[in-house]
């Protein structure tokens, strides 16, 4: 495959995160330039997420970094990887964050900056709840996260 901007850029990002990863983040797998998984822990002692590790899944289109990657939390039984409780994270792992939408995304963002944003999003949370209409959304949603239009009303996160 011809080297596209996406593969070139992802190879550089990977080189960087293999070298040094910020605290609380672990690269689990990156076997190709389409899907990576990263484990995330919250750095402070937020009682909601104490001693928990969450798994993030990144899906890159070949328009990356012009388009955002699809980022979701995935749940696993072994090792235990729950979906974090957060008013902007649905129980199927879909994250409502403007950074990950078409409009909030910018090509200067990268995998590491997304992870750090999510970390701080969890750190700053004190509500042990799911988004409004979570059950209905999870039951009916057939769209991929990038096609869902969220209304970003909460700029405190």
């Amino acid at each position: 495959m011809a080297t596209t901007l996406a593969t070139k850029r992802l190879s550089k990002e990977l080189a960087k995160i293999t070298d040094i990863m910020p605290d609380g983040l672990t690269l689990v797998s990156a076997t190709d330039f389409t899907s990576w998984t990263i484990d995330l822990t919250v750095l402070d002692a937020n009682p909601l997420y104490l001693n928990q590790t969450f798994r993030l899944k990144f899906l890159f289109s070949d328009k990356y970094p012009m388009e955002p990657p699809e980022v979701v939390f995935v749940s696993l039984h072994e090792p235990p990887r729950p979906i974090p409780m957060h008013p902007h994270i649905y129980s199927n792992g879909i994250i409502c964050l403007d950074l990950l939408g078409q409009n909030g995304w910018s090509p200067v963002q990268n995998v590491q900056s997304i992870c750090v944003s999510l970390q701080s999003m969890l750190t700053g949370n004190s509500k042990n709840e799911r988004p409004e209409g979570d059950t209905a959304f999870v039951a009916t949603n057939r769209q991929r996260p990038r096609d869902i239009n969220f209304y970003y009303h909460d700029d405190k996160v």
Binding site: M1, R9, D62, N103, R142, Y151
Partner: protein, 459 residues
Amino acid sequence: MDANLNTENVMDSTDWNDTALPAFEQVDAALRCRVCKDFYETPMITSCAHTFCSRCIRRCLTDKGICPVCNTKDQEMKLRPNLAIGELVDAFAKAWRSAFDLAKSATKGCSVASLGSGKRKRVVEAQTDEGPFKKTRASGRRTRSSTQQSVTIPDSDDDYTDEEPEDGLVSCPICQGRMSVQDVQKHIDKCDGLPPPRKKTPIPAIQHPVFPTRITKPPSKLTTLAHPHYGLLKDGPLRKKLTDQGLRADGSRALLEKRWTEFVIAYNANCDSIIPKSKLELKKHMEKWERAQTVHDREGAMIADKEFDGRAWAMKHDNGFKKLIEDAKRKLTAKDTQQQAEMGSPEQRNRDTMFNSTIKTTVAGSHSQHLQHPQSNMTQTQTTPRAPILKPYENGTLPAAAPPPNQYSDNLFPSTHTHSLKPSDTSQPPDEYDPPLPSQLQHTPTPTRPGSSQQGPCR
């Protein structure tokens, strides 16, 4: 991590961390474009004073019209070349290999001075002597290895000391020049007080290495191309534009537009360059792009709308597709029976015709004109370039109804064209370059997509 991609050969600013000069990580990073993470190629500065590669920022501005760093609105017209950064990158890229190898061979914490490289010594000294900017950059390293602080540079401008160097010579009391004892008297008679020319040639690293090649002329004044308004540009003229530039003019409308956009970006970036590439190289770039597209196309790139979700679309219209295929089959069978009644073995003949026409349409890139399809609304495909052409069956949602293209010959039904049978096909003009509107729903997924409410793939 064993299964992960091998990134050993990828150069990145963090490579400096393992060397004797970790502070160079920041220098290296500062010279890289924040979009492609590579060294700046034809750096351009935006009106918000951010610098990117010409091609990167042009692509971003074409896409969204905002600066990727600060989200300020900007236009391609307002971009200006950042010549200083360009020179800096060129010089750094030239020096990179030797500097990196040297830094790598020296272990961390080991005195750089012990390497005996005059160049390195000079650099360290210069950082110590100069203003606060340099100090910040180098301070991290200097605190770590104290030996580096003791590095003395024998030939810098301000390193005259009272100490007599042990070279067996004496210095002239007037001009401080070094000479043998016998020569002093002769010299004093005609000494003009000016310091003698240094015997040692100054180290090139500290001289302005790029001075002879400093860019004095402005960037080439090649006229840049404007992005056309695709809504007003018909297929014919667009194809002509492509052919005029020696580019391929085949493929779907969406591909044509993408190809032209890519060419305009590459062409304009080339115009910005100090030393523009030849047309041949541009063509090579486009060929490379074409190759990347082929991979992309197979994954459904023929869908013009970049937000189109084929899987969701296929799921939503699963029943509709099935029903239409059933209808088509029934009609065809009816036709067959009729023909059978009229002549001998129509099936083989029919299959051949169908196969040929399928191939023909695929190659021609237009999707319906050769086919005698039972569905009358097929003609609409030609006016709806955003129709999902291959997506629905690629992900296997319609396995029975839609075999992959290589099974055409075994299939009587022109399943490659199921897309044109989509139940709610509307003849919308192509508007995929319109930015999507912000949604108005609070935290709830919208049932429709902006910009194409009738074609929304979601349910």
